[in-house]
């Protein structure tokens, strides 16, 4: 694998009691590329995500994030909110986690919390209403408006997030993650529950994030049409271990991958492929 890496996962292992969810997993994600993590249900994809984004502490292994300026951060040592704040890794959730009782715009303002906290002098200056904070808030609203335009939710800005349709909520969650201005965007099944038209719009959105903003994306996805269309690199997992990786074309033709998805032996899969071609 060539090119500049943003994320290096090295020998990652995660155990829950006696169960090994992820075993010695190593892969890398390249900068300004879309890397997909795929595999059948229960393969351990979301566990890998939770390790990268700090929700789990890995049992073993290293996760290294390299920033644009060459700064390296060991993600397995940071915990909790610091991964989002300091390492600039943003994520979305498999079951959408918006702030349903807040408006769409407020959701995007909360995402810019750390920037706004600094601008408000950790609340004290903001309380007396210094102009510097008002400017910062205006910039934050501008950034939010910009993202609302990109995900075509501008006319819903003042509606409660909980009132949005399912597909709109998915897009809002991506916009909210992007409002933290991340270096690496981790998406956990962004196309789940979307119809064909919405999936196509999602693919377009993710490609524009990569091409126009140069944000690196790591995604878990079951919708193969999305994965095959937009991924630059695919890592396939099954039962907690990596079984294949490569370009979409390489992965699609890999008998091990087909076997994992069909739940059959490698030989049977080979037979299926041969009879099909």
């Amino acid at each position: 694998m060539s090119g500049e890496r943003i994320l290096d996962v090295d020998q990652l292992t995660m155990r829950f009691g006696g169960i090994v969810a992820v075993q010695d997993l190593s892969f890398a994600a390249e900068r300004r590329k879309i890397t997909a993590l795929i595999g059948p249900n229960g393969a351990g994809k979301t566990t890998v995500f939770n390790c990268i984004t700090g929700f789990y502490k890995p049992t073993g292994g290293a996760i290294r994030l390299t920033h644009d300026d060459g700064r390296e951060i060991a993600l397995e040592r940071l915990n909790d909110f610091r991964i989002a704040k300091q390492a600039k890794v943003a994520r979305t959730f498999q079951n959408i986690r918006l702030f349903p009782g807040m408006t769409v715009l407020e959701n995007l303002m909360v995402a810019q919390h750390n920037m706004l906290m600094r601008a408000s002098g950790f609340t004290l200056l903001g309380l007396v209403g210094v102009p510097a904070y008002r400017d910062a808030e205006k910039r934050a609203i501008d950034l939010a408006t910009d993202w609302l335009k990109r995900v075509s939710l501008l006319d819903r800005a003042d509606d409660a997030a909980g009132n949005l349709a399912y597909g709109d909520q998915r897009r809002l969650e991506i916009a909210r993650a992007m409002c933290t201005e991340p270096a690496l965007l981790c998406l956990d099944e962004p196309a789940a529950g979307l119809n064909a038209r919405e999936s196509a719009a999602l693919s377009e959105l993710l490609l524009s994030i990569r091409n126009e903003l140069g944000t690196s994306i790591l995604l878990i996805e079951h919708d193969m049409s999305v994965v095959m269309e937009i991924s630059d690199h695919i890592v396939v997992m099954d039962h907690g271990v990596k079984i294949a990786q490569g370009t979409p074309r390489e992965v699609r033709d890999d008998p091990k991958v087909i076997a994992a998805y069909l739940g059959a032996d490698e030989e049977e899969a080979m037979a299926v492929m041969e009879s099909g071609s």
């Binding site: 909110f81 919390h113 993650a177």
Partner: protein, 439 residues
């Protein structure tokens, strides 16, 4: 029956079902009240136990339960199982929103004029001061419970810390109220942070139990640390507040003498009234401002979804601690005011019942709503006084009123949430969407 036909699952209607419900409730009432009301026991003249029966009262109570349960059942069928608000016609709704818009300013103007209107009615002025104290406590607790969604059952602890801070500093060092007031707030905030640290990992019911215990610990320390707090005897002779050094008494140095007007004890009451009003409005102003700042939005986001907050890089630990500290600080201010108003404080004033009352005000008002909390404090404290004529039945009527309000408005008097920022138009968010928080 003219029950709305849109509901698919209707309770059994008709006269037999009504009678059956009423009968069951009457039997339960008979069993309960036969011992509680039907037989009255008392110590006789020579210490022996005497008792007599009161079947008349028992029968009337059971009859009231029978009739009442039929009325409630009829009301329930008329309103429908859920969605009571949907039956409110649009005209009434627009009328209510009109009232809602002008209610807060009208209330504020009325409050400012209370000492003018009721100048000669000491009882009403005292009651108004009491109501305003609870408005302030409610607004303070609203930061913790309503905005950050952290269920705090020990809020009275901070009220006590504020009161004892002022009482002890003023009686031991002779410091003035205006120096002690910020100190009382800071000390209470400090205790808020101390409480916050151990309970950060707890959520929901567990958090409630620990905060409840914390409130009791503070009270027990106040009772038992006799050398400092005077134990159950409390602290007396707490100095009255002064108007920037000018006392409000009948001396030559007093305000009345300086202004050349005749002294009246009401001056001090009016002064206390405006003092607590100013403190309460300060609490309100700070809370409204904080809601529009990133910290306030983070509190509300924390109430909505803590995991999402962490994924967005929000430090949930400091966010929770600031909520505890801010709420505690306002409790401390209110405590200092309580001490200077009473002139005497003892641990008796800081029991769990106070915490429960303030929490009830916040819940009844609608969690997070400033106007709702003010209205709830007015109806809970003022309403309680209103029923004074009912004597022993006061608690009963009061409890009934609360139950009825919570049935009809389960999310409080003002349940909807106002957004903190908007692009085109601020739209109120329905209470169905707003989360209560789980710790």
């Amino acid at each position: 029956m003219t029950a709305p036909s849109t509901h698919t699952t209707k309770p059994a209607t008709g006269i037999p079902a009504l009678l059956k419900t009423g009968f069951i409730n009457a039997v339960i009432a008979l069993v309960l009240f036969s011992l509680m009301v039907g037989i009255r026991t008392e110590a006789g003249s020579e210490g022996q136990l005497t008792y007599w029966t009161r079947f008349g009262e028992l029968a009337s109570l059971v009859a009231a339960v029978f009739g009442g349960s039929i009325v409630i059942e009829l009301l329930r069928q008329w309103i429908g199982p859920t969605g009571a608000e949907k039956l409110v016609p649009p005209a009434v709704q627009s009328g209510m929103s009109f009232v809602g818009r002008y209610l807060a300013p009208a209330l504020l103007i009325f409050t400012l004029l209370v000492p003018v209107i009721f100048y000669n009615q000491r009882y009403i002025l005292d009651l108004a001061i009491l109501v305003l104290t609870y408005v302030m406590l409610g607004w303070g607790l609203n930061v913790v419970v309503g905005l950050a969604g952290l269920l705090d059952l020990g809020y009275v602890a901070f009220y006590a810390v504020g009161a004892y801070s002022y009482a002890l500093l003023a009686t031991n060092f002779g410091w003035s109220f205006w120096i002690c007031l910020p100190l009382a707030g800071i000390l209470a905030a400090f205790w808020g942070v101390l409480l916050g640290f151990p309970v950060l990992r707890l959520r929901g019911d567990y958090l409630a139990i620990v905060t409840l215990a914390f409130g009791e610990i503070i009270r027990l320390v106040l009772i038992n640390w006799q050398t400092l707090t005077g134990g159950p005897n409390g602290v007396s002779g707490i100095p009255r507040p002064t108007l920037f050094g000018i006392p409000l008494n009948n001396s030559d140095e007093g305000l009345a003498a300086k202004l050349g007007i005749e002294y009246s004890p009401t001056h001090r009451i009016v002064f206390l009234f405006y003092l607590i009003l100013a403190l309460a409005l300060l609490t309100n102003w700070v809370t409204i401002r904080l809601r529009r700042l990133p910290i306030g939005r983070a509190w509300e986001a924390l109430r909505e979804d803590e995991v999402a907050c962490r994924a967005l890089g929000i430090n949930t630990t400091t966010t929770k601690l600031t909520a505890f500290a801010t709420g505690a600080m306002f409790g401390g201010f209110a405590g200092a005011f309580f001490a200077t108003r009473q002139g005497f404080i003892s641990p008796e004033s800081f029991t769990f019942q106070e915490s429960a009352l303030v929490l009830a005000i916040v819940v009844l008002g609608g969690m997070g709503s400033q106007l709702g909390v003010a209205l709830a404090a007015l109806s809970m404290i003022g309403g309680f006084e209103l029923f004074r004529g009912l004597e022993t039945y006061r608690m009963l009527v009061f409890g009934w009123a609360m139950v009825l309000i919570m049935i009809w408005r389960p999310r409080g008097l003002v349940g909807h949430r106002a957004p903190t920022v908007y692009l085109k138009k601020a739209q109120a968010i329905s209470s169905d969407l707003v989360k209560e928080g789980h710790g």
